[in-house]
């Protein structure tokens, strides 16, 4: 169990793409309040989600950033490949640099004045869970007090190629999303939206269920959420075994993009009446990933915010 991993704020953006992906520059500028120069749509996407999460706060400079994506800046990487392989010219320097995953971490850190840990970390099974797990590790064992954890996954035109590239059928709705969470471990932080009670991966479903039983979650106040990779048969097995009748089907109306989990957490924290979300994903090799998000008890009083809030002057 991860002690004291408090979710202080959440910010989210997602959009189905039916033609050309929408321009994001203006939205990124409006959301963050700073000019967005020499960056592509991927970084803009990351900044929009992060900006909505930070929402005008001034974060401690030591805040750590953990960022994830299934495929990173596809648009820039495709552009650079075309420059090299079709046009036979070298990439533009900034295009080359933006193909590196952590260039988005740099822009997020610069935008919010952060100098703490900065990690681009991913996993094919569960990218956001991987980032949350390392944030939890650092908050428990590496003196990280505040962390900004997020994911971004983009869509590229033409959509037929994009669908083929990400391995979905021709009629699957596709889109892009950016989902961020501000974590604060200090007891003096503002009232949390929720807690990350557990985030772990397991070699098989049996071990996951054993761990889940140990958490002693009240099934009446809990919803079970299905990750985007979990096969139907295993999902039904989990529903039957856990006795959690209510399914939190956040993914059924979402266009496909990697790391949809972030939307599930955001929706649970902001729109669900349930107390606990048990989110399970799994891959074809039999591994499974568990993420348990819990809300504070109803009626819990909010402690004085410790993070200064630029909007209210606090």
């Amino acid at each position: 169990m991860v002690p004291g991993l408090r979710i202080v704020a959440t910010g989210s953006y997602c959009c189905e793409v039916a033609g050309d992906p929408p321009p994001l520059k203006s939205l990124a500028r409006e959301t963050t309040g700073v000019p967005v120069r020499r960056v592509g749509r991927f970084v803009q996407l990351a900044l929009i989600g992060a900006g909505r999460c930070v929402n005008g706060r001034t974060l401690p400079a030591d805040t750590a950033t953990y960022f994830t994506s299934g495929r990173g800046d596809l648009e820039t990487t495709l552009q650079v490949l075309e420059q090299m392989c079709v046009e036979h010219r070298p990439p533009a320097p900034f295009d080359f640099i933006n193909t590196v995953g952590n260039s988005a971490c740099f822009h997020v850190a610069k935008c919010f004045g952060l100098s703490g840990r900065s990690q681009f970390v991913t996993s094919r099974l569960a990218p956001l869970e991987a980032a949350l797990r390392l944030a939890a590790l650092d908050m428990a064992h590496a003196n990280v007090k505040t962390a900004l954890v997020g994911s971004a996954d983009m869509c590229t035109a033409p959509l037929a190629s994009h669908r083929a590239r990400i391995g979905v059928s021709g009629d699957t709705p596709v889109g892009e999303g950016s989902h961020w969470f501000l974590l604060g471990a200090d007891e003096g932080s503002r009232a949390p939206l929720g807690f990350v009670r557990s985030v772990r991966s397991f070699p098989d479903d049996v071990e996951l269920l054993r761990h889940l039983r140990g958490l002693r979650i009240d099934p009446d106040g809990a919803v079970l959420a299905r990750g985007q990779h979990l096969p139907a048969a295993r999902w039904e097995g989990f529903r039957e075994t856990t006795g959690m009748g209510d399914a939190f089907a956040y993914g059924q109306d979402l266009p496909w993009y990697d790391s949809q989990t972030g939307y599930g957490i955001h929706l649970f924290l902001t729109a669900s009446v349930a107390r606990t979300m048990v989110h399970i994903d799994g891959d074809p090799s039999g591994r499974s990933t568990l993420l348990v998000i819990e809300k504070p008890p109803a009626g819990a009083t909010a402690p004085t915010p410790a993070l200064p809030d630029r909007r209210t002057g606090g």
């Binding site: 990173g72 990439p91 952590n102 740099f106 990690q119 064992h141 991966s201």
Partner: protein
């Protein structure tokens, strides 16, 4: 508290394939780089490179998986884990280019054939980790780091911390970087490549030489006498996307934080492995940072003159060469390179010093302001 010790290592670089060849290569005169030849914008380009020795350029998909298999096999053999331990261990992969060499080849083949073309046919950052998991039957948690030239150093730090915290018993860290056009032409476009060879902290330094490497390290709880991870720090320097602050403030900050994490004072450090990219600004920043962090700078060595800049693989690859050299009884030297203190204030170790134990700082810095210092010890 669980010590994260180094139980087994495997390596392939320009010095050779396998630990014995690599350690022997550290005693030999430096080899000049070879060249990648490309034609762009109607001009012939020669990009300096130190490719893997023993793995001739072949189909990238075959070459990439083959070198990973050989290197991981070497590390696992030495670690001698039981099958059940291996199955459950965590996997941390660090690279800046992953399998982009494979995507480039597929794209060129499709262009040459004509008809339907789909660049980046397989685009997930997690591809390599999945290949390794599948090949070696790993069912533990996996993490893939893409923080440019700190990627495998960061992977090592998290692997060690996962063990230190008791989250896992063992972890396999892999750093890999093979030649590809995106990287080669990107560095060419940035104007960071040397016209000769890498000479970190030297008045004649003029840039870097790209290197290929694949390295693997198995970590677990080990007994005294082994090298172990003692602490680390990672910070984001937003001065510039491509270089640390030249006043050394951000470099010294990450070193000081790593020392604090390791609960050591600067005077307890026996030697430093510099990042040493041989570019004017980065060496200036690192030298200034070392001078700020240490009242008396300990002996400093640099590995890139031997193997080139292996980018995302450099953190782990250089750590393995460094600690195995110390276990063999010597601190690595680069005679004549970085010998002049007037260039940066930092002098590289010029003769192989007999050192077998101590506390060591290893630096890695990457694009995106990603600065990492790792502290390792052998007592």
């Amino acid at each position: 508290m669980n010590r994260s010790s180094f139980l087994g290592a495997g390596i392939a670089t320009n010095l050779g394939t396998g630990m014995a060849d690599n350690l022997a290569g550290l005693h030999e005169p430096l080899r000049p780089p070879s060249s990648l030849e490309r034609r762009l914008d109607g001009r012939d380009l020669r990009i300096p490179c130190k490719p893997l020795r023993g793995f001739p350029v072949a189909r990238p998909a075959v070459r990439l998986l083959r070198v990973i298999e050989v290197v991981v096999d070497e590390a696992l053999r030495e670690a001698g884990l039981r099958p059940s331990e291996q199955r459950r261990m965590a996997l941390c992969v660090g690279s800046s280019s992953f399998d982009i060499c494979v995507s480039e080849e597929l794209y060129r083949e499709e262009l040459a054939r004509g008809g339907d073309v789909l660049p980046l046919r397989s685009s997930s950052f997690g591809n390599l980790a999945e290949s390794i998991r599948s090949r070696f039957g790993l069912q533990g948690e996996d993490y893939t780091f893409n923080t440019a030239c700190t990627a495998s150093a960061n992977g090592l730090g998290y692997a060690a911390r996962l063990i230190h915290a008791g989250f896992v018993d063992h972890a396999l860290v892999l750093g890999v970087e093979l030649v590809n056009d995106l990287t080669a032409l990107g560095f060419h476009a940035l104007g960071l490549l040397s016209a000769s060879d890498m000479k970190p902290f030297d008045p004649a330094r003029d840039g870097l030489v790209l290197g290929e490497a694949c390295s693997a390290l198995v970590l677990g709880r080990g007994e005294d006498g082994r090298f172990s991870w003692r602490g680390d720090a990672n910070m984001c320097d937003t001065t510039s996307m491509v270089a640390a602050h030249t006043d050394g403030s951000t470099v010294s900050a990450v070193i000081e934080r790593a020392l604090s994490d390791a609960r050591l004072v600067p005077s307890a450090i026996t030697a430093v492995k510099a990042h040493g990219t041989a570019t004017p600004l980065n060496d200036e920043a690192e030298a200034a940072g070392l001078l700020r962090a240490f009242e008396a700078v300990p002996p400093v060595c640099a590995l890139k003159p031997f193997i080139g800049h292996t980018l995302g693989a450099c953190g782990l690859t250089e750590l393995i060469l460094f600690y195995r050299a110390i276990e063999s009884g010597f601190l690595i030297a680069t005679p004549t390179i970085g010998a002049d203190p007037s260039a940066s204030g930092v002098v590289l170790n010029q003769t192989e010093r007999p050192i077998t134990r101590g506390n060591f700082v290893l630096n890695s810095f990457g694009f995106g302001g990603n600065n990492t210092s790792v502290v390792i010890s052998r007592n």
